[in-house]
């Protein structure tokens, strides 16, 4: 996360973009913390929106324009709505849900820290020697993404469609069984 800042030569005289990046990062982190600690279920989902939106802004600041708007469209616009749907359909009363707390919070914390550590390690290891230059050309535009995708990653792209089809079929099978039982 700090790659852009750390790799920049003028670390002690940050540019406006870098300052914004750090500030938005802090906000995102704060929103994420509130998401997991709040006792109100729907509030948690809404704080998740803030966290995901903050992430989108971070992408934007790293000039990954396309990914940023994908983040907004897919995560804020549909995954969170899906989540809210799920909450509203099961039980999401206004006010606190005392039974929303599980006893495994310490285990959960351990798993979260471990997962975060793994991710950070993977990212640092993978991108050790590359950095995003904010001074030259914007590098994350839709065209560039498209070129990458269809020059180098065609097979994963096609495999993805099969994966999504499998997810779709799975969802339908599950919901159908549900309706037959009723």
């Amino acid at each position: 996360m700090n790659l852009a800042v750390a790799s920049h030569p003028g670390f002690l005289s940050p540019t406006g973009v870098e300052i914004t990046f750090v500030l938005v990062g802090l906000i995102t982190l704060g929103a994420a913390l509130v998401t997991v600690t709040t006792k109100q279920l729907v509030h948690a989902a809404l704080w998740l929106v803030v966290a995901l939106g903050g992430l989108a802004v971070e992408y934007l600041l790293l000039t990954a324009e396309f990914i940023a708007w994908v983040q907004v469209l897919i995560y804020v616009g549909s995954v969170v709505v899906l989540l809210l749907f799920g909450l509203m359909m099961t039980k999401a009363p206004i006010g606190r849900s005392p039974d929303a707390d599980s006893d495994n919070r310490w285990t959960a914390l351990a798993v979260a820290v471990l997962a975060a550590a793994t991710l950070v390690w993977v990212v640092v290891d993978a991108f050790r020697s590359t950095w995003v230059s904010l001074g030259g050309a914007a590098q994350g535009s839709t065209e560039v993404t498209g070129e990458f995708l269809f020059r180098q990653w065609v097979l994963p792209f096609e495999a993805l469609s099969v994966l999504l089809l499998a997810a779709l079929v799975g969802a339908i099978v599950l919901s159908r069984r549900d309706s037959r039982e009723r």
Partner: protein, 133 residues
């Protein structure tokens, strides 16, 4: 990174554009704040118990606001998430598929991709998920 065949935008212009977008968002927030402040100063505030009751349909509400709803909504939104993930790949593809060096094969690749999507849609249709009742 391979040499790019498409024209790139300078990062300075890029940040200029998005600072403008951010500025508009800030202006919007300011507008709403000013509107609410004005409203706060102008409007009366005479809360009564009756007034603060949930209106619902004009009759005093029974039970709380939460109620069971159909699972069907959830299935639709799940379908959407899957298809939306599919659909966003169209945009990077759309910008390059007619560029020199891509052409027919890229078109076929995308048609294979869309074919899977269409099969999924047909499957859902056949299974009656798209019918309501």
């Amino acid at each position: 990174m391979p040499e790019s065949t498409v024209p790139t935008i300078s990062a300075a212009g890029y940040f200029h554009t998005y600072s403008l977008v951010g500025l508009v968002a800030v202006v919007g927030v300011l507008f709403v704040t000013v509107a609410f402040t004005t409203g706060h100063l102008l409007r009366p505030m005479v809360p009564t118990r009756e007034k603060m009751l949930t209106y619902e349909c004009g009759v005093d509400p029974v039970g709380d606001g939460w109620a069971h709803t159909q699972i069907r909504y959830y299935v639709y939104s799940f379908l959407y998430v899957i298809f939306a993930v599919d659909a966003i790949y169209l945009f990077p593809w759309a910008t390059v598929f007619a560029a020199p060096g891509f052409g027919g094969s890229t078109l076929v690749e995308m048609f294979v991709f869309l074919g899977f999507l269409a099969v999924g849609l047909l499957y859902a249709w056949k299974k009656g998920v798209l019918e309501w009742a």
